[in-house]
Symmetry: C2
Subunit: 486 residues, 2 copies
C-alpha cells in the first residue's frame, strides 16, 4: 500500500494553481471565434511546472515541480493540443514509488535517501528547438530531449557530448536568422559553484564557442541577453550557500548588501580575459526583453526589480523582503567610457514581466516588445505591446478575472517586417478552470483576438516556450530571411 | 486546409455537455476526503459518448457520438485515471479527414460518400470484460476489443469467429459467479431486420447457446434480463423503418399503437419454438434492474416509461411525444398461467434510471438496487438505494447543482453478503466543470462518500460500465464465491 495523495491547502495549490497532473491529447481544438490565420503552421511548445506528487512540505514554490511540456500544433487549419510530463529520472523514480522523493527546491539534502545521487532536474522551464531537436530545459540540469511529434521523453542530453557543464540555461537564444544557438551554464560545476560558461553552437548544433569564467558570487542567472558583438550576463545577489543547503535551507538567499555585476563577453573569439565588467546597486531580475549594440554602447532591456524578485528567498538573516514591482528598464553599458557603472532608464511606467520580442530581432536594434502587464489584485492580467519608437503601450485584457501566460510572437512570414505577425497567448479562463489559446495581431493587441481556440482543460502553468515553424520542423532550420542577415 | 472545428450552439453541447474530446492520463488521483477502502483493487471501466468532430447537424442526440472509454484503476491504495477514444474505423477515418464523415444517429444514408460501406459503430455505450478480454460496446456493431491496461483499441471482434450476427448488445450480463457471458444481438442481420439471437458463452469464452428468432417488429432492444431458467427480452415499439432511413429520417419511430411484446427464451438448451411470448400495452424502457424466477413466475424489474423513453424519436406522423417519467416497475410473467398478458407493479414512487444491482445477484432473487434519481430542474441528481425487502429508499445527493453518473457496485469480498460493499459513482461537479469519483458505502449511501477522489478534468459522459476485480484482471475469471453457486 502506498500513501494517498493529499496536497496541502496552501495558496500555491488553490484555484487556478490546483495541481493538474494530466497528460492530455486533443486532436483539433474548437475554434470559438475568428479564423486561424492562413500560413500559421508549425508548433508552439511551452513548458511549465506541475506537481507529480505532494512533497509533504509547505514551502513549495511556484517555480518548482515536475515539468509538463505542452504542444499546440498548427497544421492545415486545425490545431492539436498535447501535454506530457517530462519523464526525467526524478519523474520515473517518483512514479515507481508513487510518492515524492525529492524535497525542497533544488536542495538535494532534503531528498529521500533512496534517490541519493539522482539529479533533481525537472525540465520545467522552457522548450528549446535547435538543429532539428526539441528539448525541455531546467537551468540546474542538462536538457531533456523530447520527441517533436509525441512529446515523449527521449532522454537527458549533453548535446552529443559537447556540454561539459553540469547545468544548462533555460533561457537559451536560438537565433532564427542565423540558426545559431547561444546559451550558457551557471553554477556549472555543481550547486553553489561560481563557474559559468558561455556557449555558441552553429546551425548544425556544433559547439563553436565555449568561454568559462567565474561569477562574483554563486548567483542566480536565470536569463542573459545577446548582441551582435557582446553577450550580456547580469549577476544579481540571489546567492547559493552550500552550508545553508546542507541544513535544509533555501537554494538562494537575498543579499541586499551586494552589488549587481554585469559581464560582457565577446560573442565570438573571446576568452575570460576579454570580458568587460560593470557594477551597480543591489537589484534583481529574472527576464531580459532584449539587448543590442549602438556603437560602443550596449543596451540591455530588462524587467528590473529594485530589490528581490523572489521574496520567497529570504536574506541570510531570515528576513523576508517586501515585493517590489518589475519595471522595464534600459541598462546602458559604455564600452568606450572609463566607468564600470551603468546607466538605467525606465521605458514603461507600469510593471510588467515575461518580456518577449520578435525573436528575429534578438540581439539587434528593435522596436516591439511584448509583456504580461496589468496584474490586478484578483490575479487577472493582460498582454501588453510596447513600441519603443513611439513609446505607445497597448494592452489586450481577456475577460474579468482572466489572466494570461507568456505570449509567443510568430512572424507573418520569414521576411515580414519586425512585429508583423501574431502573438499566441494562453488565456487562463479562471472562473471556468480551463484555457483558451488566443491569437492576437501583434501590431494591434488591443483589438482582441483574431482567433480563439478553446481547450476543455486547464493549462496550469507554462513559463516559457518557443515557436517552431513548419519549415523548421521539417528541416531543422528556420527559414532564411532577406531583411536580416547573419 | 481542413475546416475549422465549430460545435453548434445547441443544448446538447452547452454546460456540462460541452465536448471534452480529450484523452487523459492521470497517475494517482488526489484523495480529497476519506480513505480508499482496503481491498478495493481492480478496475472500473466506463464508456460514454463524446464528439470527435461536429457533425454539422442540429439533430445530434446524446446517445450518439464516438466512444470514450474511461478507466479508474485501483491498486495499492492509489487510483489512476485514463480515458481514450475507442479507435473504431469510423474514428480513424474521421481523424484522417479531420472532420465528421458520419451523419445522423445510425443512419448510414446520411454519411459522407467517402465512407460508404464503413460501419457507423462508435463503441460508446459500455465496457464488457469476459474471459480475460475487455471490450467497448455499441449495440449496432460488433465489440471492439481494448487493452485492459492502456485502453488502446485492439480491434473489432467477432469473439473468435463465433458471432455471426452483425451486431452485439451493449447490455451483456457477465455473471461474476459462473463467469458466463449472456448476450444477444438484435437487428442482427442489419438495419431494420427483425432477427435477434440469444448467446451464452462459457467462462472461457466458448459459445454454448445460440438461439435465433424473430422480433414482432424491428424493435429497439437496448437491454434484456436474465434468470436461472429464462432469459427475458422485452420489445418496445420504437421501430426502425428502412424506407425512413433511406430518406435521411430518424433511426427509430415511436408507435404508440403497437404493443409491448416480451419473449422468454430458455437460458439453456432451447430453440425458437420453446420461446414463451407475452404482450402488454404500448410502453418503453431502456434499462432493466434485474429479473428472477419465483416458481413458475418470472419477475422483471425495469425503469418503465408508460410512453416513449426517447422523445427525440417521433411517431411516423412526426409527432414528438411528451416526456414521461421512468418508474421502477415489476412486470410478472406467469409461465403456468393461461394468459399472454403480464402484471405490473410499481416498486418505487419516484422516477429513476440507470438501475444497477450487486451483479452477483443478476438473475437471482435479490434485495438491493441502485439508481440515479431525484433529477431536479437544474439537472442535479443523486444516487439512490432501494431495498426491496424493507421498501426503504435512501439517497446520496452531492452538492447543489451536481449530478451523478451511473454507479457501480463492488462487493467487499467475493463472499460478502448481497449489497455489502461499495458504490463507485462519478459525480459531475457542474459548477467546477470537473469530476469526482466518490466511493459510497452501498448499505448507507445517504451517509455520503467514504472517499472522494478528485479529477481536475471533466468526465463528460459515462453511460455504463463494469468492475473488474484484481483477481479477474490477473486470471480472466471472477473469484468463486461460497455463498452462491453456478
Amino acid at each position: 500500500m502506498v500513501d494517498a495523495i493529499h496536497f496541502p491547502d496552501v495558496e500555491l495549490y488553490r484555484g487556478w494553481g490546483a495541481p493538474m497532473r494530466t497528460e492530455s491529447t486533443l486532436r483539433g481544438l474548437e475554434l470559438t471565434q475568428g479564423a486561424i490565420p492562413e500560413g500559421l503552421e508549425g508548433a508552439l511548445y511551452k513548458v511549465g511546472a506541475d506537481r507529480q506528487y505532494p512533497s509533504g512540505r509547505l514551502d513549495d514554490i511556484f517555480i518548482d515541480g515536475e515539468g509538463m511540456i505542452h504542444m499546440f500544433r498548427f497544421k492545415n487549419g486545425q490545431v492539436d493540443y498535447l501535454s506530457r510530463w517530462v519523464h526525467t529520472k526524478r519523474y520515473q523514480l517518483q512514479q515507481q514509488a508513487r510518492r515524492a522523493l525529492f524535497g525542497r527546491y533544488r536542495n538535494r539534502y532534503t531528498n529521500d535517501p533512496s534517490v541519493a545521487g539522482v539529479h533533481m532536474g525537472t525540465g520545467n522551464t522552457t522548450a528549446m528547438f535547435h538543429a532539428g531537436r526539441l528539448y525541455a530545459l531546467k537551468e540546474d540540469d542538462l536538457p531533456h530531449e523530447m520527441d517533436c511529434d509525441t512529446l515523449a521523453t527521449i532522454g537527458r542530453s549533453d548535446l552529443g557530448g559537447q556540454v561539459r557543464a553540469e547545468t544548462f540555461t533555460a533561457h537559451p537564444k536560438v537565433d532564427p536568422v542565423t540558426n545559431e544557438l547561444l546559451a550558457f551554464a551557471y553554477q556549472a560545476k555543481g550547486d553553489a559553484s561560481r563557474d559559468i560558461v558561455y556557449y555558441l553552437f552553429d546551425k548544425d548544433g556544433k559547439m563553436r564557442e565555449e568561454v568559462w569564467f567565474q561569477m562574483p558570487y554563486a548567483a542566480c542567472v536565470h536569463d542573459f541577453a545577446i548582441t551582435d558583438e557582446w553577450i550580456v550576463f547580469p549577476f544579481f545577489p540571489l546567492i547559493t550557500d552550500l552550508d545553508v543547503l546542507k541544513t535544509g535551507g533555501p537554494y538562494y538567499q537575498w543579499h541586499p548588501d551586494q552589488q549587481v555585476h554585469v559581464a560582457l563577453v565577446p560573442r565570438r573569439g573571446g576568452s575570460a580575459k576579454d570580458i568587460r565588467w560593470f557594477k551597480g546597486p543591489s537589484a534583481s531580475a529574472g527576464h531580459m526583453m532584449n539587448a543590442f549594440r549602438e556603437g560602443t554602447k550596449v543596451h540591455l532591456d530588462v524587467c528590473y526589480y529594485e530589490g528581490n524578485c523572489f521574496p520567497f528567498f529570504p536574506t541570510p538573516q531570515g528576513v523576508v523582503t517586501e515585493a517590489v514591482p518589475p519595471l522595464l528598464k534600459r541598462l546602458t553599458f559604455d564600452l568606450a567610457g572609463n566607468s564600470d557603472g551603468f546607466e538605467k532608464r525606465q521605458l514603461l511606467d507600469i510593471p510588467c514581466e515575461m518580456p518577449r520580442t520578435d525573436d528575429r530581432y534578438q540581439g539587434r536594434p528593435y522596436r516591439h516588445g511584448y509583456v504580461i502587464a496589468g496584474r490586478a489584485p484578483d490575479g487577472s492580467s493582460g498582454t501588453g505591446h510596447v513600441d519603443h519608437v513611439t513609446g505607445k503601450f497597448e494592452m489586450y485584457r481577456p475577460g474579468p478575472g482572466d489572466s494570461v501566460q507568456e505570449g509567443q510572437f510568430v512572424p507573418r512570414s520569414p521576411d515580414a517586417p519586425e512585429g508583423d505577425g501574431w502573438l499566441l497567448v494562453p488565456v487562463c479562463r479562471v472562473h471556468e478552470m480551463r484555457t483558451d489559446l488566443v491569437i492576437l495581431d501583434a501590431q494591434n493587441v488591443a483589438a482582441g483576438p483574431v482567433a480563439t481556440l478553446k481547450l476543455p482543460v486547464r493549462v496550469r502553468a507554462t513559463f516559457h516556450g518557443s515557436w517552431v515553424s513548419e519549415h523548421a520542423l521539417r528541416t531543422g532550420q528556420y527559414e532564411a530571411t532577406a531583411t536580416l542577415g547573419a
